[in-house]
Assembly symmetry: C2
Homo-oligomer: 313 residues x 2
Amino acid sequence: MSFSLTILGSSSAVPTSRRYPAAHVLNVHERYFLIDCGEGAQIQMKRNNIRFGKINNIFISHLHGDHVFGLFGLISTFGLLERTADLHIYANPKLEKILDNILKFFFEQPLSFKIIFHPIGSKKQELIYEDEKVTVETIPLKHRIPTCGFLFREKAPLLNIRKDMIEYHNIPVKEIYNIKCGKDFNKPDGTSIPNKKLTLPPYKPRSMAYCCDTRYSEGIVKYIKNVDLLYHEATYANNMAKEAREKYHSSAGEAATAAKKANAGKLIIGHFSPRYKSILPLVEDARKIFPNTFAAQEGEVHKVKQTKDKRNQ
Amino acid sequence: MSFSLTILGSSSAVPTSRRYPAAHVLNVHERYFLIDCGEGAQIQMKRNNIRFGKINNIFISHLHGDHVFGLFGLISTFGLLERTADLHIYANPKLEKILDNILKFFFEQPLSFKIIFHPIGSKKQELIYEDEKVTVETIPLKHRIPTCGFLFREKAPLLNIRKDMIEYHNIPVKEIYNIKCGKDFNKPDGTSIPNKKLTLPPYKPRSMAYCCDTRYSEGIVKYIKNVDLLYHEATYANNMAKEAREKYHSSAGEAATAAKKANAGKLIIGHFSPRYKSILPLVEDARKIFPNTFAAQEGEVHKVKQTKDKRNQ
């Protein structure tokens, strides 16, 4: 039951010899969500053993090249590998036409798979993806062009039913799902066994918020309250907070303030300006405000462990 | 007086964890020519200490994504770094419009530099670039879409004038250039000193041909006769020559045959299919026909040394 974020690119718009433009893969129960797709994303996926076939959903925060320019090559590769599964892309509606133009221009044959384009807004929080295990909502951000973050939430898992209780109370199969959902068990003799005696607490649903690119804004805190993992851009160190603000980016301290105010479990800062050969000063800036901060680094995997839920205790 | 080719990408269309799509830099007397610009070219340039400011001319062989998709990010980076020098792009005329569309779409502000687009054909050999040290000509190739290779030739250097002769014959400054060009020196007393006695032979002009992507064709041999360095694609090993032909690519043996027939100095094979974890079998296939064959490998630099010209001996 994985919940882990792999960093493929930690750079801002100008990459360095070690840092790639923005790209990340969130694995939730073996569903792989690609978040932004900067140049080189496909090579980074290969390096980090992320199978292309696992990528069915791509979320693009905004239409700056450093978050998009890996998409054309990735789609091309999917085509050359004769992918058949639909590929869902969630992005600003303007991307659809230019992507379509590029595909028509550069590819000799129609793709072997369908691209299903989901236009998304960036002005209010919206649910844009849902399956039986995960939901994805947008987070309105403040950048120079329309930009949204993404909030990935694991759905609340069912309660664990106690096998010994199934035998002891002779619980029929048809009742098991109801009990896992929290219902009491009514025996044929009229006795009611409270759910609490029949089940064990499952793990707490996990969550990850991705906020990049954005100027720091207290307004986002309400969307990311209590996330286990917060990825927040920190293009600059604290001594460049003014420049960050002017360019609609954040400083490391501002990313940490967002994490603190949101009561996040762990903060990852990324989208670093190429001026920083070492990221340590940014991590130090952030840790003064939010100690559980880590710098995004290519190839690193940030796992969120399962912890007990208290719903049923 | 450099003449060296740096390999930035040795992969065919689908990159691997170690091999990037096609991109190469030829350094001729500190002029840096970028030949094809696959995804990740800018990162590979950073890794190989190729300064962005040195790149003024980009040659695109054809409009398949694996030879082009690094261009958008590279231009974006040039803009962010506030480049001012003109950037010349030599490519199929169709690229101009799509590039223009992409630039308009993804960039908020006009670029800080001019892009000067040079449309090139692929049906006959043409001179497309010339300065005081180098010429670049196209080489018609056989691929699924219009494609051309590039032949880079160093211009014949001037003869080296002997300093001792300048003193001995009291040669005036205004005559030196003529003598370096091969003229005899006529002394004021009417004596003529033959050029051969006044000069030393310079080095032989060097050349490099780039043939990628292409089906093997004996027709190209005439364009690449006696090149010092031949980069010829070898997407497949010899046992897949049929597939190579069908897909308008070459086998390693065919690349070697081209090198042998052209009397090339050294052959570099590249554009490898991702099916080959090791390239050794392809190198072995090629060396049976042309022993001085090497596999393209990211970061490797192939230098062509100066050798004596025999013009004046």
